[in-house]
């Protein structure tokens, strides 16, 4: 034990090496200083002033639109993503490899392009938007458009989280259920589905977190009118354009806090998921 300790003792401290120094300086300049600038600016405001801006009518409406649409988008991806992951893992069909690879397109495509392309087909004169416009439903430049953009950019999360889990699933358990006379439907809901739940939730939380912070595609497809389809990132952007640094900072601190909470939640969900596997 002692020998082991002395042998590895040199590794116990952060080494004062070239990589160590570079990493520390880079992290401080690139990440810690900007983060500190936001937090210090935010918390140097009087608390009642901070609270007043953070809970103004417009801010509250904006969070409401932002989170409800991101939640719907994450939920859609939870259901459809589980289905797509299932189909990609369990079935064979022509073109499966290409379709599997194409799931990553929303990650690879720059968000501005996603915004332009989705607006083009879901606007009143677009391929799909036209059909809805005939029924009096607006998609682009309204909330449904924001929902679509959020669904698009967060589409791969649930699928990519579930695929390896479905692949590694021990088939013996299913076979036992099956040979004991459980129908395929019962086998799915009672045997296959329960262990998937933490992984689906992880995927949904990742999708939600990404959808909440999305800006590029949303700002292009939305009308960005307050109380209509304006999301928090757009509100921050507009406040900055109007030189309302204080207002932008407050909303920025609120959104940062929420992303950190989501990150924490995702870590817990991932632990739950890996715990189940043991």
């Amino acid at each position: 034990m002692n020998l082991y300790r002395t042998a590895f003792n040199s590794n116990l401290r952060l080494p004062l090496s070239v990589p160590g120094v570079f990493m520390t300086v880079y992290l401080i300049v690139m990440l810690v200083l900007p983060l500190a600038a936001l937090l210090v600016k935010g918390f140097s405001l009087p608390p009642d002033r901070f609270w007043q801006i953070a809970t103004s009518k417009l801010a509250l409406a904006t969070y409401g639109i932002n989170f409800s649409l991101a939640f719907l988008a994450a939920l859609t991806n939870g259901v459809m993503g589980t289905l797509v992951a299932w189909v990609l893992v369990r079935y064979d069909f022509p073109g499966k490899k290409i379709i599997d690879a194409s799931v990553d397109i929303p990650f690879a495509l720059p968000t501005a392009v996603a915004g332009v392309v989705l607006t083009a087909i879901y606007s009143d004169s677009g391929w799909i938007g036209r059909l809805f416009a005939a029924q009096g439903i607006r998609i682009a430049f309204a909330r449904p458009g924001v929902y679509l953009a959020m669904t698009f950019i967060s589409l791969p999360f649930v699928i990519r989280t579930l695929q390896p889990v479905l692949n590694d699933m021990e088939k013996e358990v299913e076979e036992v259920a099956w040979s004991l006379g459980a129908s395929p439907t019962v086998t799915f809901w009672r045997v296959i589905f329960p262990p998937l739940i933490p992984h689906i939730l992880t995927g949904v939380a990742l999708a939600f977190s990404r959808a909440v912070g999305e800006f590029g595609s949303v700002v292009i497809i939305a009308s960005n009118l307050p109380f209509e389809d304006m999301i928090a990132s757009v509100l921050i952007f507009q406040k900055l354009e109007q030189y309302d640094i204080q207002g932008a900072t407050v909303i920025g601190v609120v959104m940062l806090t929420i992303s950190l909470l989501l990150l924490f939640m995702i870590n817990l969900l991932q632990k739950w998921g890996s715990h189940n596997e043991d």
């Binding site: 570079f22 459809m80 397109i105 392009v113 589409l155 590029g216």
Partner: protein, 283 residues
Amino acid sequence: MKTKDRKDRYVDSPIGKYLLIFIALSFLAVMIYIPLMALLQEVIKGGWSTLIGALTDRNFRNACWLTVLTALVAVPLNTVFGLCTAWIIARHRFPGRTFLITLIDLPFSISPVVVGLMLVLLYGRQGWLGGFLEAINFRVIFSLPGIILATAFVSMPFVAREVMPILEEIGKSEEEAAKTLGASGWQTFWYVTVPNIRWGILYGVLLTNARAMGEFGAVSVVSGNIGGKTQTLPLFIEDVYLNYQTAQAFAASIVLALLALVTLVVKELLERRSGYKSKPRIH
């Protein structure tokens, strides 16, 4: 094949199977394939002359150049940073190590507009360093340094996150053997470590580059969006699209869509080559 004997066992009728495949493909079609086909159709509809005209436009060429220049600075910086960080975290145990891992992931979970805001609060006229920067007459916000800082911020974690698990997996016995045989630190790194992690590095660089060239929100806040000067390709697309120059917007979009396509193809090749697949994360 492992997958062969497990397929199709839990759905009674082929109707169920085909129904599920149909729903899955319809979802992907509505969300991904139809929009991309619409983009292609718009570009084809515009014709070659429109496309060439759009691609030789001065603002477009400036935007391309700025995007490439930004990536040329941000990607190598983040690659070196990622390698250093991955090595430190994988090869050492020290207090605050878990915190460091969380810190590195942070850029993935912050909204890009908030990233831009942070940089404005730090380097802007009223920011912490605003007075100092003005005194030495160096502009960060609304100019190239700000664009590079924003881009480097949002694409920071990729290389570190891809290389770290590989370094942990291969262990350090080979490196220790090299050291025992008298190799210096750099020799060990170049001749022993790098060959082992090269696919991971490439994978990380690929993702870093895709994110760097496509970043919109953070750059949009700090760049000032001056056409031909501080406009990157994604900003150019938004600008011309909002000004109803849709043909130009589609032409520029297809360029970035092609970049995305190349990224995916190379990624697929790398995965096949190395048998390695990365885990999904927030950005």
